[in-house]
């Protein structure tokens, strides 16, 4: 099998056995990235020189025989993570010229572990989007069919991993931005528990929902990287001070006896019956492995999208107030006065979807509307969190579809934002409740991958990864590579 088709875990073994060097691996992937860029547009920046220098350093460490498990392995960073001395755009004209003066904690940890950054992946502007069409740098295309979207907002990371331009990528998830593109591109993606991974240096969208995570081709690889990025960070007061378990060691936990809840509401109208069939087939695999499956109900889960579209825009309108054209980022030409500078810099620097969310947030927080919208949404959010908690008294994990349909065509949902928002109908609940959730490939509709979502209680990442790993030992959906990228 070609090197690019190997998992991170397999590549780690190969580097250690000196079957190939990190420089060879890096060169090979940079060449693939270059060839795929006109077709997929998965990258905003490719950091060729820095990558080759880091790989050469990694090879010296490997030769010395003292290398840690991640030394010399390639990684792609979503362009929402600040990278010291490297342009960090967040997919926006606002930050087109922004060179981050420091590393995000996630980036710093993987760098310290010896990983080699290949580049920064394209994304929806400020992570606001479900199709990667809101990026200032143009849409990313789905490697399974270039007429289709890869999902969003971590569409560049997902498309790159699916096309085997790199074995793994960082990503972030505020309402489904790791899991939804993972499903539409046929890769494995984990959104950890809120607070499990530091948000320091991760450009903020909605601070009570945002969480960094990993996209890779297997649960085993996700476990390897999660262990490296998780943990308390004094620079993020919302990161949780709690020991990081050995996720890789937990992968072997058996599925037999696992109580799986199937969310009744997720199989209601709106789910493409072809997707439903793939998910039901996956549940049958778990049943065969000895899991017990029962139906659970979250009566208010249907209100997660409305609650989200109050809470997330409210937090976004506040977080994005920092982009004022004064200290960094885009500034308009020849401002008449300070107000003109603010209004035009922001009006010209932000794209339509970001402006729409800032406007929504400003409205729901404005005098006289706060109780009706924000307070009500935070109550509904608590209600949904309570329902999840109740469900997890009965079952160990909840399984269901990640998305209502397979990947859709570019432009299909851009005319009405609400239609686009509803794509995240199955993923938003986990963000509202701060729960860990992952998506794994579980079949195909024609040539297009379908995702199975697994949601767990707070800090149950080991359980989710073990369940995903068991499934991936029984099936080979996660090993499928889009035609043209084999």
């Amino acid at each position: 099998m070609s090197w690019h088709a190997r998992t991170l875990t397999e590549l780690a073994t190969a580097l250690r056995a000196r079957e190939l060097t990190s420089v060879e691996l890096t060169r090979l992937l940079l060449k693939r990235i270059e060839a795929a860029q006109p077709k997929l547009n998965a990258f905003v920046s490719v950091t060729t020189e820095a990558a080759l220098a880091a790989a050469a350093q990694a090879d010296r460490t490997l030769a010395a025989g003292s290398a840690g498990p991640l030394v010399g392995l390639p990684i792609i960073h979503k362009d929402i993570f600040c990278t010291d001395g490297v342009r960090t755009t967040c997919g926006s004209r606002m930050l087109d010229n922004f060179v981050a003066p420091y590393d995000a904690t996630v980036v710093a940890k993987l760098k310290a572990a010896g990983m080699v950054m290949l580049g920064k992946s394209n994304m929806d502007e400020f992570a606001m989007g479900s199709s990667n069409e809101t990026s200032f740098y143009g849409p990313v295309r789905n490697p399974w069919d270039a007429r289709l979207v890869p999902g969003g907002s971590s569409g560049g990371s997902a498309a790159a991993v699916a096309a085997r331009l790199g074995p793994a990528a960082t990503a972030t998830d505020t309402g489904g931005s790791i899991r939804q593109p993972a499903a539409l591109c046929g890769v494995t993606g984990l959104k950890p528990t809120y607070g499990r991974v530091s948000r320091y240096g991760m450009i903020a969208f909605a601070s009570s929902l945002d969480q960094g995570g990993i996209l890779a081709t297997s649960a085993e690889d996700v476990a390897l990287l999660l262990g490296a990025i998780a943990g308390f960070d004094p620079r993020d007061s919302t990161s949780v001070d709690r020991p990081v378990p050995d996720y890789a060691a937990a992968l072997g936990r058996p599925v037999a006896g696992l109580k799986i809840g199937v969310l009744k509401e997720f199989f209601d109208t709106g789910l493409d019956p072809r997707n439903a069939r793939c998910v039901r087939d996956a549940l049958a695999v778990y049943e065969r492995l000895g899991a017990a499956i029962r139906e659970v109900s979250l009566p208010n889960i249907g209100l997660s999208v409305p609650a989200y579209y109050v809470v997330a825009p409210a937090e976004c309108s506040s977080n994005l107030a920092r982009f004022d054209g004064l200290r960094f980022g885009y500034r308009c030409k020849d401002p008449r006065d300070l107000t003109d500078l603010y209004c035009r810099s922001r009006g010209e620097g932000f794209g339509a979807e970001v402006k729409r969310r800032i406007m929504t947030g400003t409205y729901v927080l404005s005098a006289g509307y706060y109780d009706a919208y924000y307070l009500k949404a935070q109550k509904v959010r608590q209600l949904i969190a309570n329902e999840f908690e109740h469900a997890f008294n009965e079952v160990d994990v909840i399984m269901g579809p990640t998305t209502p349909t397979p990947a859709f065509e570019l432009g299909a949902k851009t005319s009405d934002p609400v239609t686009m928002y509803l794509n995240d109908i199955y993923t938003i609940g986990a963000n509202l409740a701060g729960l860990p959730a992952l998506s794994i490939p579980c079949g195909f509709v024609g040539e297009l991958p379908v995702g199975l979502q697994i949601i767990g209680p707070h800090f149950a990442e080991e359980r989710l990864l073990a369940a995903a790993h068991s499934y991936q030992r029984e099936t080979d959906w996660h090993r499928r590579i889009p035609s043209g990228y084999e």
Partner: protein
Amino acid sequence: MYDSAPFFLQFANSIRLMDRDEIAAIAHLARLELGEAELAAFSESLTRILALVGELDRADTAGVAPMAHPLAGLSQGLRPDEVTERNERDRYQGNAPRVEAGLYIVPKVIE
């Protein structure tokens, strides 16, 4: 392509129409300059979004406290009030649109 009809969206509530002037007022609060075409587009899309959000009225939230933190019982920790970062003003100002003598330059504020 299968048309995904949302399972809860009934738009049962009276839809609140956002007119052009109201949109312009919100845009000013948010310090966003919008053209006429954008004002018209946002009138329509914000009306749709508020109809979506209006679905929240259907939830019975009597006796439910608004969520304060996604992890129940957890509050954010405090650290000692000590200087922990180096002064890197020159580096940070490298990203500024206009700087002179270590100062951020803005249009005149006081006449």
